[in-house]
Amino acid sequence: MDDVTFDMVCFPSEDIVAREIEGELIIVPLVAGIGDTDDELYTLNETGKAIWSRLDGKRTLRAISEELATEFNAPLEEVGKDLSGLMNELIRRKMILVQSV
């Protein structure tokens, strides 16, 4: 079920630690229940990294989509699809929180 709307403002949960090591974004679960097992790490692909860096608790997902579409010269619809896909994954894994809708 797709619960993401573009009015959402999202920010990283305090239940994870996001680290950038040698250009790789690594998400380390801090509390139990984020991963399927306790020792998992997560990485984001290039699209995911570009989106993650903008999840600052201030910008709406719409604003982020527009920024990315401009920056990467990509169709807004395509960027929105990527954003929505990633947000669904991150929300399901409780790695980000939604501040307002």
Binding site: I26, A32, D38, E40, L41, L86
Partner: protein
């Protein structure tokens, strides 16, 4: 399309040529221990005020963890002594976790409290807690650990971990008081979630790591299993020979006069007093870096690479160890040499005997043959590893 990729730490591979400068750091939080194990290479009494007063303080350890994180470190191993003796353990644990590090905790489990078990349950270490087990019965455990009542506290700790579903694994040491406990220990392994049920035993004990107690060294020597006894334990594992085929195919060749053919110095172990060692074993003062005076980065990038260039000069070492193809089976290394002899390159006869006993059992050498005299060692390894 998926945007996140889930990985186990060992599956995480950086692009070629990239990667963290430090993947794991070992930190000995204290040398003090609430056990007084008859075979221990490092412990000091838990109430040793002199040792306590010299230990790294909380701020120093936090700074060290921060330095490690800045070098890309993804895991810290807290060891000791008994790390849970540190009053600031929970604080340091959470500091490391909040830096995004997994924590490997080496403990005897006696000081696991309900509060700590809840902490580990809520904020899992990310790696299994590794518990050292000194016996399965009160009389055997207490005798090996040198403390009356220790088994009861250990067992209560294990119950707390299980009750709170905290991931832990266990390992044991084969000692005279607990030799009859192996069957019970191995049965217990099968009941622990997350254990792979392959028993891990220490039985070829190191001498005192600081060369500080000749009397205890004599006792440790007597506790070591002989090469024959060691083989009788190794042979009990149904996977021993097959695992050795794969291992020998990769790690057997003479090392020449290069002393550090291991990974020492690529990572580090920081002792309880803030000295960076090239590995957990090597405490020769000539090879450590005082982190009160230098950064972790400087130790890793400047001091250790120079030390790794040290060459062996001991004639006996050059005649034997440098030419011996049993390198992968033999624990001879600068750390063991220093513990035994106070030098970096003196052959350790006990380790040589263990390696030859294994090689004989695996068919790599014949009775009375010395491995450094074998000329067709490559053929032998190929034959063995292809079987």
């Amino acid at each position: 399309m998926t945007y996140t990729k889930k990985l186990k730490p060992h599956e995480f591979v950086f692009p070629a040529g990239k990667g963290p400068r430090l993947s794991q750091i070992d930190i000995e939080l204290t040398e003090r221990c609430n056990n007084n194990c008859i075979h221990c290479l490092i412990n000091r009494q838990e109430n040793d005020e002199h040792a306590h007063s010299r230990e790294m303080d909380t701020a120093f350890v936090k700074d060290l963890l921060k330095q490690a994180a800045d070098l890309g470190c993804l895991a810290v191993r807290f060891t000791g002594g008994e790390p849970l003796l540190r009053e600031d353990f929970a604080e340091l644990y959470m500091f490391a976790r909040r830096l995004g590090m997994h924590v490997i905790l080496f403990t005897n489990g006696r000081l696991i409290t309900p509060e700590l078990a809840r902490l580990f349950a809520k904020y899992p270490p990310g790696k299994p807690i590794e518990v050292s087990v000194y016996g399965m019965r009160p009389e055997s455990y207490d005798a090996a650990a040198g403390k009356k009542g220790a088994h009861a506290e250990f067992w209560r700790g294990m119950e707390l971990l299980r009750e709170h579903k905290v991931w832990f694994v266990v390992k044991s040491s084969i000692l005279p008081p607990n030799r009859d406990d192996m069957v019970d220990f191995e049965q217990w392994l099968t009941e622990i979630d997350g254990e792979d049920s392959q028993p891990r035993y220490a039985m070829n004990f190191d001498l005192r790591a600081r060369r500080d107690d000749p009397g205890k060294n004599e006792r440790i020597r007597r506790l070591r299993l002989s090469p024959e006894e060691t083989m009788s334990v190794l042979k009990r594992s149904p996977i021993y020979v097959d695992s050795m085929r794969e291992f020998c195919g990769k790690f057997m060749s003479p090392s020449g006069n290069k002393l550090f053919s291991c990974g020492a110095g690529h990572g580090t172990c920081v002792d309880a007093y803030g000295k960076a060692q090239m590995c957990m074993g090597l405490r020769d003062p000539e090879t450590v870096v005082d982190l009160h005076e230098a950064t972790l980065k400087a130790a890793l990038e400047h001091s250790f690479p120079k030390l790794r260039e040290i060459r062996a000069t001991d004639p006996e070492y050059l005649a034997r160890c440098a030419r011996c193809f049993l390198k992968g089976l033999c624990e001879q290394c600068p750390a063991k040499s220093w513990m035994e002899h106070g030098t970096l390159d003196t052959p350790v006869e006990y380790l040589c005997g263990l390696a030859h006993a294994q090689a004989l059992y695996l068919g790599l050498i014949t009775e009375n043959e010395k491995a450094w005299e074998v000329e067709n060692w490559r053929e032998r390894i190929d034959l063995f590893s292809r079987k």
